[in-house]
Symmetry: C2
Subunit: 219 residues, 2 copies
DNA sequence: GAGCTCTCGTGATAGGTTCTAACTAAATCT
DNA sequence: AGATTTAGTTAGAACCTATCACGAGAGCTC
C-alpha cells in the first residue's frame, strides 16, 4: 500500500504531504477496484471521497493510466514482499504456493490486475519487470531446494538455451522447468477460481490447488 | 460471429434485417476489442462506423453490457464449435489442446474475454453456462479415451463425490481429474502467454505448452 | 520575520462516453 | 389503402478524462 521501494526517509514536509495524499488516493482506488473492477475506476469519484474536486488529482497522477500503473506496481511489490517474507523462513515451494493463494484470495482483483487481462498495447515500465524478476528469483531459489527427481523432458534443452529470464541463476534446466510449471499450473487453477469459472461446478478449488501442488512436487 | 444457436430459419424480412445489423454491430465490436480491449469498446464509435448516429444501436442491444454479454456468448459458442469439430475426427485430447491454442492465438482478446478478468459482480446468464457445460463434456469424452494410467490421488474421492459439473458423464474420478488439470494447466500457460507475461523471458511459449501437454498424457 | 516562489486546489471548459425521451419517416401488416 | 409497428433521428441529462488559468496559501530564502 505504501510507496514501497521508493526512498521514504528524510523528505521535505511538502514531499511528505504529497506522498500521503498519493497513498490515500491509491487506498480509495483499491476499494473501487475491489468492488467494481479496474475498468470502473473513476478519478472523479476518488476526488469526491477525498473531499476535493475533480482535476486536483492530476497534481498527483498524470493520468488515469498512470494511477493504474502505480497500482499494478504496488500489487507486484506486495506479492514480491510476501514471497520474500515467506522465503525468509525456509525456501519452501509449498509455503510459497500457499502464500500465493492467500495473497490472491485476500484481494482477487489485485491478483487479476497483475495477471489478468491486459490492455492490448500495454507495456510494463522498467520498474515492474524488475519486481517480476525478483519474484522469479525467489521461486527459482525455492525450487532449487527440492530433491532433483523430476524426469528430464524434451523441453529442458530449449529451456537451458534460453535462460535469460533466470538472470544468471545457476539452476539446472530441470529446476527452471519446475519453476515455470509451478508458476503456470498454480496460476491456471487460481485464475480460473478467481474469475469464478469453478462456481457451480461443485468441487472445492482449494483441494484442486493442493492436488496440483502435490503433483508438482512428486513428479 | 453469426447468431449461432438461435433459430435462423424462416424469419420475416424485418427479423432478417435486424439479425444482420446485429451481427454487423458485433463485427465492428470485435475489431475494436482486438485492437483496444473490451474496456475501450464504444457504442458511439461503432455507430459512426455503421454510418448511423449514436442511440440507434439501442434498438439492437439494450445496453453496452448486453452487447458484451452477447460477444462473450458468441466467443464461448465459437470455442464449443471448434471443440466439437475437432472431436468429430477422433476424440483426441492432443488435437483438442492444439485446437484450443490455435483458437486462442487467432484472437487473444476473444480468449481473454471468456477466461480473463471478469467484472466483480458479473454473473453469466443461463445460455452461457450451458455452452460451458458442452465444452466440458467434449473434454471429458476425449479424456475418457486415454489409457487409464494416471495414478489415483487423494483428490479423486472428493471429485467423485462432487461431480455435478460432469452432468451425468460416467467417467471415473481419475478421468474427471485429468480433464480438470487438462483445462487448468493449458489455461495456465495460455493465459500467461496471451497476457504477455512471457515476453522477454526468452523461451518459446509453444514448447512450454506442448511440454505441459506431454506431461498431462504421460503421468 | 518579510518577501519571493512554488505548489496545491479551484472553477471553467472541451470533448468523450452511456443512455433516455420525443419525434419523424418508412416499412410492414391487416 | 389505412393502421400499426419499427428504425433512425436530434436533443439532452449525467457521467467521465483531461487541460487551462487563476487565486490562495504553504514553505523556502535572505
Amino acid at each position: 500500500m505504501a510507496e514501497t521501494g521508493s526512498q521514504t526517509g528524510s523528505q521535505t514536509p511538502r514531499e511528505r504531504y504529497r506522498a500521503q495524499v498519493r497513498t490515500e488516493i491509491k487506498k480509495h482506488a483499491w476499494e473501487q477496484i475491489a468492488t467494481a473492477g479496474a475498468s470502473a475506476l473513476s478519478l472523479n469519484a476518488i476526488a469526491k471521497q477525498l473531499g476535493m474536486s475533480g482535476p486536483a488529482l492530476y497534481r498527483y497522477f498524470d493520468s488515469r493510466d498512470e494511477l493504474i500503473t502505480a497500482l499494478i506496481r504496488d500489487a507486484y511489490q506486495s506479492l514480491a514482499d510476501t514471497f520474500r517474507a515467506t522465503a525468509r523462513s525456509g525456501a519452501d515451494p509449498v509455503a510459497l504456493a500457499h502464500a500465493l493463494r492467500r495473497w490472491a484470495l485476500e484481494d482477487p482483483q489485485r491478483y487479476l490486475l497483475v495477471y489478468g487481462t491486459p490492455v492490448p498495447g500495454y507495456h510494463a515500465p522498467e520498474g515492474i519487470t524488475a519486481i517480476a524478476a525478483e519474484i522469479m528469483a525467489t521461486l527459482l531459489d525455492a525450487c532449487a531446494t527440492l530433491p532433483a527427481n523430476p524426469a528430464p523432458t524434451p523441453f529442458d534443452p530449449h529451456l537451458d538455451a534460453h535462460r535469460t529470464w533466470a538472470d544468471g541463476h545457476p539452476a539446472p534446466p530441470a529446476v527452471l522447468h519446475r519453476a515455470l510449471t509451478f508458476w503456470t499450473r498454480l496460476h491456471g487453477v487460481l485464475s480460473l477460481e478467481l474469475a469464478g469459472h469453478f462456481t457451480g461446478m461443485g468441487f472445492d478449488p482449494a483441494l484442486l490447488y493442493t492436488a496440483e501442488l502435490d503433483a508438482l512436487l512428486t513428479h
